[in-house]
Amino acid sequence: MRVTENIRFLYTSRALKDGASRMLELSTQIASGQKLTRPSDAPATYSAVVQRSDAMRRLASRKEVLGQAASDLRLAEGALASSAELLVRAREVAVQFADPFNGEAERDAAAKEVAAIRQQLVALANTKGQRGYLFAGTQTKTPAVDATGNFVGDNLPLNVEYADGQYTPSNLDGAIAFSAAGGVDPFAVLKQLETDLNAGNLVGVRGALATLEDAHEQVTLVRTEAGVAINRLVSAGDFTAHALSRAEALQAKEKQGDLAELTTQLTLAQTAYERSIGVTRQVLNVASIVDRF
């Protein structure tokens, strides 16, 4: 093989160019912390990363929705617990004033207490969570009951997705808890009790005992459903969080470069580059017949 000056320079410059290119590539990866920055770095892996990223967004959104729904349900469950206590208190008042020995003034005071209980129950039925009024069905922007205790919401579910294609209601049926749809209208019962106490209608007061018991039961029943729903949502949320965590770990592994590995590769590339420079120096300094003249 006939070796000319240009052949020598051709080889050495190509080796230097390749070495510099590899070092730049690795330096960029180390600086950005990512070994996968564009589809052509690894097309199949990049496609998987895009799909996993989408799945992660979906899981994160689901986790947030489930957390929000569970939080609202806890709030609703607390409101129902308070409602049940109010109904217990109303029944206690009814029991106490079913006795004819109470005076008119005491009955008036009791009637006022029952009115206050009713107002508190209205407030509890109109409890607001992160998603709006909790017992109004899908009417999250309007109170579930009006000032007089009439239920004005709907009994439609607000579903949430807890697994792919699997849905569960995330709200409670306010109509069952706070209207005659559940068997007893607690507001009507309390209003009647208040009227009977004001009128001294002891038969009516005694009659309220059973209906208040029923109202308490229907509120408690809905509260039980809330507990079940909370467990379901929390469990689904935990599972979603776990799946998200695993996806994030896998994503990081594929997308982000292993710093130790990249640094090692950079060191190797640097060594190769320095050797190329050494070879170039040798080639350029090689003894030539030209030097003899």
């Binding site: 000056e5 052949i7 199949a44 895009v50 799945a55 899908t138 999250t140 922007k141 439609l156 607000l158």
Partner: protein, 473 residues
């Protein structure tokens, strides 16, 4: 029998011939790093005996080193490399458009859109969340528009590139024709002719990098250039190359897409279509990237826009809006009824009717008092993991699009590196036959110098003998 005067002539011929040898060697040494320079050799010949000449030497000419095989291999490799390099550069630009980086891609806009439906499902009567759905829908449509427009802009840029390259080829063909004339009229075997040939070969290599050519050498020293089945240049006649566009699908007049059309025209002649013959050089790479790769990506994008809009509109129409009406289409604009027409991604728009009245977003699925539930919002959100036209979820489809784009670029870059290597090998082959070795030239220089000195010595000796003869007379 030689006379003393004939010895003087012999010495003179030696001095002149070796001085030429030194001059030619000097040319080689100084031209060693000049691109396209071919080593020259002074051709020395004996002078015939007889008359006033007692032998001697003369320079019959200057030979130019020229390896036909190496030159042809170099032309072929220049063509391959030019095509691969142009295609890789174009696909790299397309990749930047399709995968602009974290949080900016089409996949991210899809995820934002579906997330907005998730949010709306939590409060279906919330107008702020309805506005968010509309904004995310607009943003998604805009991402389709921008991506499609950018791809089209790259295609337009590649047409401009092709026009520039065609101009460069024409300019070089014209110059090569001029050099051809000069080579034909120049004295044979001279350094001047070698210089013209070097310049011509360099220009031919530059043409080959842009458009693959075959060279036919003629007896008069000129060359003819053939490409794509026509003679680009032959005997002083040069065809003018031109590039324009023609319909991608001539049978579908409504299809606005175009592909490149290359034509070669003789002076005063009819243009001849050579498009299909353009298989090497930058023009071939530009053509493949523009008319094959990018059209394929644009078609995928159109199909994705079409399939997604169809699925989203169908799901939306299954629900009811806050006015208890069947909601309007979510996405409109240039979307075909049964197939994705070209430009679907460029034209897709979020329905302005919905933007004007956010109550027309259908989040419910049954005829209930408004808002009526959130089943339809959840159904829209579920499209995120559903299969569009049986070809995968939106993210899968985007992933497939990016993977294909990435694979094309990997293949193009691999080809580019391979061709760079083979071109380098061909250059080495040419260097082996026609390149300059300074070591060799220094030896040649010494050889001619010594011969020159020896001729001087002969001259001096003959001169001394003549002087002695004259003194004795």
């Amino acid at each position: 029998m030689s006379t003393l005067f004939s010895i003087l002539n012999t010495a003179q011929s030696g001095i002149a011939a070796n001085a030429t040898g030194i001059s030619v060697t000097g040319e080689n040494i100084t031209g060693a790093n000049t691109p396209g320079f071919s080593k020259r050799t002074a051709l020395l010949e004996n002078l015939p005996l007889g008359g006033a000449q007692a032998g001697g030497v003369t320079v019959a000419g200057v030979a130019r080193a020229h390896g036909l095989f190496a030159e042809r291999a170099l032309l072929v490799e220049h063509g391959h490399w030019g095509a691969a390099d142009a295609r890789a550069a174009a696909l790299s630009r397309a990749e930047d458009v399709l995968a602009p980086g974290d949080g900016l891609g089409l996949d991210d806009r899809f995820a934002d859109f579906f997330e907005s439906w998730d949010d709306l499902a939590q409060k279906p009567d919330d107008l702020a969340l309805r506005r968010n759905v509309a904004l995310k829908g607009e943003s998604l449509a805009s991402a389709f528009n921008v991506t499609a427009n950018e791809l089209e802009a790259i295609r337009a840029g590649l047409l401009s590139d092709a026009e520039a390259v065609v101009g460069e080829v024409n300019a070089r063909l014209s110059r090569i024709r001029q050099l051809n004339d000069k080579v034909a009229s120049s004295q044979s075997a001279t350094s001047g002719k070698a210089e013209l040939q070097d310049e011509r070969d360099r220009l031919i290599r530059e043409v080959a990098e842009r458009l693959s050519v075959t060279v036919l050498s003629k007896d008069d020293g000129t060359v003819a250039l053939l490409s794509s089945g026509v003679a680009l240049m032959d005997g002083g006649v040069v065809r003018t190359l031109s590039v324009s566009t023609q319909p991608y699908d001539p049978l579908t007049p409504t299809d606005p897409r175009t592909v490149l059309k290359f034509e070669a025209t003789l002076p005063g002649g009819t243009p001849r279509d050579i498009t299909n013959g353009v298989t090497g050089g930058r023009l071939a790479g530009l053509r493949e990237a523009r008319d094959v790769d990018l059209i394929a990506r644009a078609e995928e994008l159109d199909q994705l826009a079409f399939d997604f809009a169809g699925a989203a509109n169908a799901a939306h129409a299954s629900g009811l809006d806050l006015n208890l009406n069947v909601p309007p289409d979510l996405f409109v604009g240039g979307l075909g009824a049964v197939a994705a027409p070209p430009g679907s991604a460029e034209d897709i728009t979020f329905n302005p009717t919905i933007l004007a009245d956010l109550r027309t977003i259908g989040a419910a699925s049954a005829l209930n008092p408004p808002p009526g539930g959130n089943e339809n919002a959840l159904a829209l959100s579920a499209l995120q993991s559903g299969s569009l036209a049986g070809l995968g979820s939106p993210a899968e489809r985007v992933g497939q699009l990016l993977a294909r784009s990435g694979n094309d670029l990997v293949a193009a870059e691999t080809e580019q590196r391979l061709r760079e290597s083979t071109r380098s090998h061909a250059e080495q082959l040419r260097e082996e036959t026609a390149g300059v070795s300074l070591d060799e030239e220094m030896i040649q220089l010494t050889k001619f110098q010594r011969a020159f000195q020896a001729s001087m010595r002969v001259l001096q000796t003959a001169d001394e003998l003549l002087q002695e003869l004259v003194q004795r007379l």
